[in-house]
Amino acid sequence: MKCGVIIFPGSNCDHDCYHVLKHVFNQNVEFIWHKEADLKGFDIIVLPGGFSYGDYLRTGAIARFSPVMNAVIDFANNGGLVLGICNGFQILCEAGLLPGALMRNQSLRFVCKFVNLRVENHDSAFTNDCTENEVLNIPVAHAEGLYYTDRETLDRLNKNNQVLFRYCSNSGELTDEANPNGSLENIAGIMNAEGNVMGMMPHPDRSYEELLTSADGAKIFQSVLNMVQSN
């Protein structure tokens, strides 16, 4: 199995993602510079967090045109597993691989804290290591994480179980107080209709062992690895 972590100019969680896959899960991982045009041989591609291209114009808007993104689109269209974390989620939305957009937090503040996520669908490539409605403790760190989409798309996401995580209270209730950025219906992470491309604002790459306060993020990586191993 081979995993790839893409580095855009301005990515800053690339080493975190590399570390989790390489040293926590003992996987074969390679960094992929954004000018690469070929992703042959990879099973999993991670778009890490950061501030690609300084967030100029809109978050992810310029990174979306990096040469590697054509390869990511081909990879995804051929069923490859793509994981977008934070800025990676923003890039996947801009690239049209995921529906919707991430907008400025309602508070206008950069929010950096642990939040609770309720697993809304535990039968996906990205959540199969979780239990039904499990509450995960994973940190967010973003200024632009308000998930928005039109009503029609939102209905479709809900109907197809494409919403994977929602911000919730300790006990798993979906409240406004638990929503760190004003996302529609507390949405924290979604996948595409085909179920092979996922984006989430919280950082599983910052919560993969107890030393980091929570090891819940490891379940996301474990799920993806389970998926590849079962195929």
């Binding site: 907008m103 309602q106 206008l108 928005y148 989409t149 039109d150 004003g182």
Partner: protein
């Protein structure tokens, strides 16, 4: 020709930045403002192309990159260079 592109959040989408500025203006005693919406202005200088061509190119730029149709609307105004 210069294309001035105004990008705004679609109506109905919450604009917390506009809201905050609105409150600040009210605190300064500027009343009678019903709403404040923030946006972006992007100027594209196309040199010596026709007005129609500048509009066409500006529109293409918006569709391909400058505006995100999920959340934003755009409007293009064409001006002669040197104005």
């Amino acid at each position: 020709m210069i294309a001035e592109i105004y990008i705004t959040l679609k109506s109905g989408i919450l604009d917390p930045q506009g809201k905050t500025v609105h409150h600040a203006l009210e605190n300064l005693g500027l009343e009678n403002i019903e709403e404040v919406r923030m946006g972006k202005l992007i100027r594209l200088d196309f040199g010596s192309v026709s007005k129609e061509k500048a509009l066409e190119l500006g529109d293409e730029a918006c569709k391909k990159l400058l505006a995100n149709p999920v959340i934003e609307d755009y409007e293009i105004q064409i001006q002669s260079a040197g104005k």
